[in-house]
């Protein structure tokens, strides 16, 4: 069991992410290891801690965690899955794109919004192809417009 540093524990418990953002800026290896360990925690462990670990790891920017986050996707509830899509978009590997594209036709509009934003951040040819599909085929005017905007900026 990886020990959670005190400052990180407080940041994970907080109602805002600002303290977590500060720890991400500091980039302490012990915090990274602890955040990764939270991805491996079972469902019974506090869901907010896992969701916040996903948030922080996405902003940490180390693509080594892409596989772990992608593997979690099917078992996450809706809100956590959006956090994971957001994080994958910030990590930006081909494996991340494949995980994100798995939710490109999700019935939830907010999910598809974060899919479009994540693909736009990554901007690789595969991500752009996914955005093109959203631009052409998504049932929502908003998502089609968002995808078009992301394509224009990528």
């Amino acid at each position: 069991m990886t020990e959670i540093p005190g400052d990180l524990e407080l940041a994970l418990d907080a109602d805002e992410s600002c303290d977590l953002d500060e720890l991400v800026r500091q980039r302490r290896p012990a915090d990274f290891d602890a955040l990764v360990s939270l991805l491996r925690s079972d469902q019974a462990r506090e869901a907010p801690h896992r969701a916040r670990a996903i948030y922080a790891l996405g902003r940490w920017g180390d693509p080594a965690v892409v596989g772990a986050i992608r593997d979690l996707l099917p078992g996450l509830h809706h809100d956590e899955r959006i956090s994971a899509i957001d994080a994958l978009g910030r990590l930006g590997t081909d494996e991340a794109v494949e995980g994100i594209l798995g939710y490109a036709t999700d019935e939830s509009l907010p999910m598809r919004k974060f899919v479009a934003r994540a693909l736009g951040r990554i901007g690789t040819p595969r991500a752009q192809a996914g955005l093109s599909e959203l631009r052409q085929a998504d049932p929502s005017d908003y998502i089609r417009s968002l995808a078009a905007g992301q394509l224009a900026h990528s």
Partner: protein, 229 residues
Amino acid sequence: MTTINVRTAVADRLGKSGTVSLKKDVFGVYSDDHPQSRSLLTQMDLILNKPLVRVAQVTVIGGDIVTPTPRPQRDLDNANTIYQRECGAWIYCTGNITVDRIDLTFLDQDDCNLGASHSVSDDEADLFGLGRDLGANIVGYYIWSSPGHGGCAAHPPGRRGFWLEFGSIKPGSPQVAFAHELTHNVGHNHHVKKPADNLMTTKKGKTLSSTLTDEQCQRILADPDMEYP
């Protein structure tokens, strides 16, 4: 015996004229989620004699998101209890609207850095444009969620405000989360670790008994949006 002209006081101090609603214009109550007896005499004392900060509230809804609902009046009442008890100031709600914007129910946000280092996302730019015609410089937004979760008082330059989520992941201190975020705005108060019962700690379970220090109150009372009689 002193006679108080409510209409005059409300016009002079709060800027409300024409047809005046006792509930909305005098008490600043726009939601029915926290019913309680409210004393007109006490309210007039606040209006006539105490510093106030104006706040508006915006709830963002959309799609299938119907429950749970936020409790904006409870949040205002609790924030008022703490501000009046700790600092002798009060919070006047100038309006509360609900906006159907499913695209903003889940907020895309890069970070929650308080201050100039905050990166303003497109969603934040949109969200913090809502409710700017409600008569307050500070607006509290209720959204379903954001990857950052909980709440955040980081805001675009010139658009003071904060958001709170009311979705599946609840704040650790739901009773005073509004007061906490508001206090990041009013007086630019940051998190503290001591005293343990302070409103601005990050620990879970903060309650109406949460305190503010003299220093925090001084910053609140010196805020540019604090109005004096």
